[in-house]
């Protein structure tokens, strides 16, 4: 045998709509390359986690993929990135595996096709949901109520009785929580981490800290290499606005529920009351944040992204944005005849958002959080 006859493993361009297996085997090839290089080990959690392994199962790869924040640093720092013949593109391939993973673990499993054209599916559901509320309200009330001016406690409930609202949103929310929990169980089992880790306070605290600070969305300290090899920190800023905006909105709803049941106070609340303050700040967050994220997405270097799944990302961001915008509009217009219409729109988007949580990009946050918890546990096992 002449050694020069050895062939280099296939590194030609991948077909655009490659299936999950192809993504996994490419991720496996890349992790083997990176594991023999390791130059990127200081950039984020993915590389140290990779170094703890020599072989990579599908579960391992999915775990690593969900650890990746797609900051892009390892692409602009890689001497073997395309056009080099080794064609090493870690951010993109991990994005593909990560996006596959939402369908891989979805519950119930027969809803996996939701991820096939996720952008379209989510848009349809949102549209149907908004339409249902608008048409429902219109059919239910005569125009005098729908387009009347209502003020003072209980004004919203003239449009939709509180118990009906709670029943519909409670059911949707509980379903989504159930579906998300079941997906997480599937994910956790497949990546092969014992369930005891989820009871380990240090691992939970470590994961929560890294998720809450977006520790790894910084290219190892300088910022994302999102558009070129010149880093910036915009995505982290906009993501923080979105995430904390979302949490504030969630807190606003929770406080409102307490006010209603514990205190017996009826919405709408005055502008200075806690639920409104939280909701307003949150609404501003999930308005500005998503706009920034969308702009960043369209400016991003396409080489870093799983472009086939852009629809999913955009649908999720736009859904958050519309929830925020309609919420703010409701606040400003609640004492006018448009209140009924705005309430229908807002509730339509909130409902659409709730029921698509387990079936869209929302899952990235959940799996990312879990992956970071596992990484915190692994790091402690390996380095004490």
């Amino acid at each position: 045998m002449q050694a020069v006859e050895f062939r280099f493993p296939d590194s030609k361009a991948r077909p655009v709509n490659a299936d999950h297996e192809a993504h996994l085997s490419e991720a496996e090839r890349l992790m083997t390359v990176c594991n023999s290089c390791r130059y990127c080990e200081g950039l984020c959690a993915v590389f140290p986690a990779m170094e703890m392994r020599r072989a990579f199962s599908a579960g391992d790869l999915t775990y690593l993929a969900n650890l990746c924040h797609n900051c892009g640093a390892c692409n602009s720092d890689c001497q073997f990135a395309p056009p080099h013949e080794f064609d090493v593109n870690v951010p993109k391939v991990l994005a593909e595996v990560r996006n596959d993973s939402y369908a891989r673990y979805v519950w119930p499993g027969f809803l996996a096709p939701m991820f096939r054209r996720n952008g379209l599916m989510v848009t349809l559901i949102a549209a149907l949901s908004v339409a249902a509320f608008v048409i429902g309200f219109a059919a239910w009330h005569d125009p005098a109520v729908m387009f009347g001016t209502h003020t003072g406690p209980g004004a919203f409930y003239k449009i939709m009785p509180h118990n009906t609202m709670v029943a519909i949103f409670g059911a949707a929310f509980l379903w989504s929580v159930l579906a998300i929990v079941m997906s997480c169980v599937n994910f956790w089992r497949d990546i092969g981490e014992p369930s005891s880790t989820l009871r380990d306070p240090q691992a939970l605290a470590g994961g929560a800290h890294d998720a809450a600070t977006l520790k790894y969305l910084d290219g190892g300290g300088v910022g994302c290499m999102a558009e070129s090899d010149k880093p910036d920190d915009n995505r982290r800023l906009y993501h923080h606005l979105t995430f904390y905006g979302f949490m504030l909105c969630f807190a606003a709803t929770s406080v409102g529920t307490l006010w209603h049941y514990l205190m017996g106070w009826d919405a709408p609340y005055p502008w200075y009351d806690l639920p409104v303050v939280l909701g307003t700040l949150g609404g501003i967050g999930i308005t500005i944040g998503p706009i920034g994220l969308l702009m960043a997405k369209f400016r991003r270097d396409p080489q870093l992204m799983d472009e086939s799944r852009k629809g999913m990302d955009v649908a999720f961001i736009v859904m958050l944005l519309l929830t925020g915008v309609t919420g703010l509009a409701l606040l400003f217009l609640r004492a006018t005849p448009l209140m009924g219409t705005m309430l229908a729109l807002h509730l339509g988007f909130v409902f659409g958002f709730f029921i698509t949580m387990p079936y869209g990009k929302f899952m990235h946050g959940i799996f990312r959080g879990l992956a970071l918890v596992r990484y915190a546990a692994e790091k402690r096992r390996a380095f004490g």
Partner: protein, 468 residues
């Protein structure tokens, strides 16, 4: 903002090359107030030749830092250099470089480069070498960003192919671009265009036809065109064409630019045979980092410049993984068949080796003294019988990292003329003058030290010269 080179302008300093040496020179010259043009032969993605592939640099320092585990004095650095070069170094230049390397650690950070503690798998260098966060390409991008921010002009896919001289004075460079040849006038030239390792014909002048079988680990663009021109224009040559850094890398690697990931760290855990199934050197002579860089030459001396590292299942997880998986056989004969070797002869060599192994306590972390008796050549450490299947092999070839033949410089990085004196306005830095310090041998991380220190000196010198 990237500014392209304006060929109608007279620059204070033109810099040939786009790697570490070139960028350090460009930044230093610009900071000295000069207008600077970088002319880089490679396309933008491949800019910075071999620097793209690096991961660390060796600098002296008097105490531990956040990223260095202990002090490394100038004296110790110099001793290491004397040892690896066996005295083949210009002592004054070497001492000057080592002294300057101390300040380099700060300077390079000021230019935006970031360090991290040493990499997993290279802990033996954690005290002496500073590792770039994100590797050489990250380091390079930081230098480029800084240079751009300072207003250095740069053009890619542009090769300096000739020099216009007026006696010992550089006048203009002939630059070959995709749009034809251009003339670039400047008050000074810094030659930072690397060695000639990617020029197989030049390698053949030293090595003969066997150079055809060498693999080039780094950039295909370092072909020594400017080095040739400089020597042709009367600059002093230093070193001979066989001196270079060469290691044994996976024979399946591409001809050029395979980089670090085709490296193999398993020689010490097995035996190495040539195509006639004969061993030819003590695989366990010393710890691997100290012997890494001799195996390129050893394999180059074997028939067809090919050899095979053979080991068994027990060794598989003792070393860093590499790009290609090892070739696997259920038996020695099976393995030989897959490698195209004579099964009976490989069996004979392995049996002979196994019979010569003496009892001992194998320990991969120290020189364990496990050795052979009555075998020629002996294996003096980590000799353990190759008996537990499956059996593995890596085919290896010489992989050339970079060449040492270059132009002679003085302590100001000014290029020396063959008939005495020095060029008025030509400086050199990096691989193109590495032979001044490295007559032979190598110490990990010194390539970048040579580029940074001499690059900075050259840039400052050229910048000041222009403003006189």
């Amino acid at each position: 903002m990237e500014h392209p080179v304006d060929f109608n302008k007279t620059y204070d300093v033109v810099i040939a090359g786009g790697g570490n040496a070139a960028l350090c020179a460009a930044i230093a010259a610009r900071r000295a107030g000069a207008s600077v043009a970088i002319v880089e032969k490679a396309p933008r993605f491949y800019r910075g030749g071999n620097t793209r592939h690096t991961r660390n640099m060796r600098c002296a320092h008097d105490s531990a830092t956040e990223t260095l585990s202990g002090p490394y004095t100038e004296e110790e650095f110099f001793d290491d250099l004397l040892r690896v070069t066996q005295g083949n170094t210009d002592e004054n230049l070497a001492r000057m470089m080592i002294h300057q390397s101390k300040d380099m650690l700060n300077w390079i950070v000021e230019q935006g480069v970031r360090f991290q503690p040493s990499l997993g798998g290279t802990l033996s260098l954690g005290r002496t070498n500073s590792f770039f966060l994100g590797g050489g390409r990250a380091m390079l991008s930081a230098l480029y960003r800084t240079a751009e921010g300072l207003g250095v002009h740069m053009t890619y896919e542009a090769e300096v192919t000739d020099l216009e001289m007026d006696g010992p004075r550089f006048v203009a460079a002939e630059v070959t671009t995709p749009n034809g040849k251009r003339r670039l006038v400047a008050k000074g030239l810094v030659a930072a265009s690397g060695g000639f390792e990617a020029n197989i014909d030049w390698l053949k002048e030293g090595w003969g036809e066997i150079a055809e079988n060498f693999l080039i680990r780094g950039t295909p663009y370092n072909r020594g065109s400017l080095l040739r021109t400089l020597i042709g224009k009367g600059m002093t040559q230093i070193g001979d064409p066989t001196q270079c850094h060469a290691v044994a890398i996976d024979a399946r690697a591409p001809k050029y630019d395979g980089g670090i990931i085709t490296r193999l760290d398993c020689v010490v855990f097995g035996i190495v045979v040539n195509k006639h199934c004969q061993r030819f050197y003590d695989e366990g002579e010393d710890i691997w980092p100290k012997r890494y860089a001799i195996w390129g030459r050893l394999v180059a001396a074997q028939p067809d410049q090919i050899a095979y590292i053979i080991f068994d299942a027990r060794a598989l997880k003792l070393f860093m993984p590499s790009l290609f998986p090892p070739i696997t056989g259920t038996s020695i004969e099976d393995l030989a068949g897959k490698l195209g070797l004579d099964p009976a002869r490989l069996r004979e060599t392995v049996d002979g080796f196994n019979a010569a192994v003496q009892p001992g306590q194998f320990d991969d972390t120290i020189l364990d003294g496990c050795h052979t008796e009555g075998l020629e050549p002996a294996k003096t450490n980590w000799a353990r019988r190759i008996e537990q299947g499956p059996f593995y092999a890596y085919p290896v070839r010489p992989g050339i990292t970079f060449t040492y033949l270059g132009v002679k410089v003085d302590a100001e990085a000014r290029v020396q003329l063959a008939d005495g004196g020095r060029a008025e306005n030509i400086w050199a830095a990096g691989e193109i003058m590495a032979g001044n310090v490295l007559g032979r041998g190598y110490a990990a991380g010194i390539g970048m030290t040579i580029g940074s220190v001499f690059g900075r000196i050259a840039g400052e010198g050229a910048g000041k010269h222009a403003s006189r």
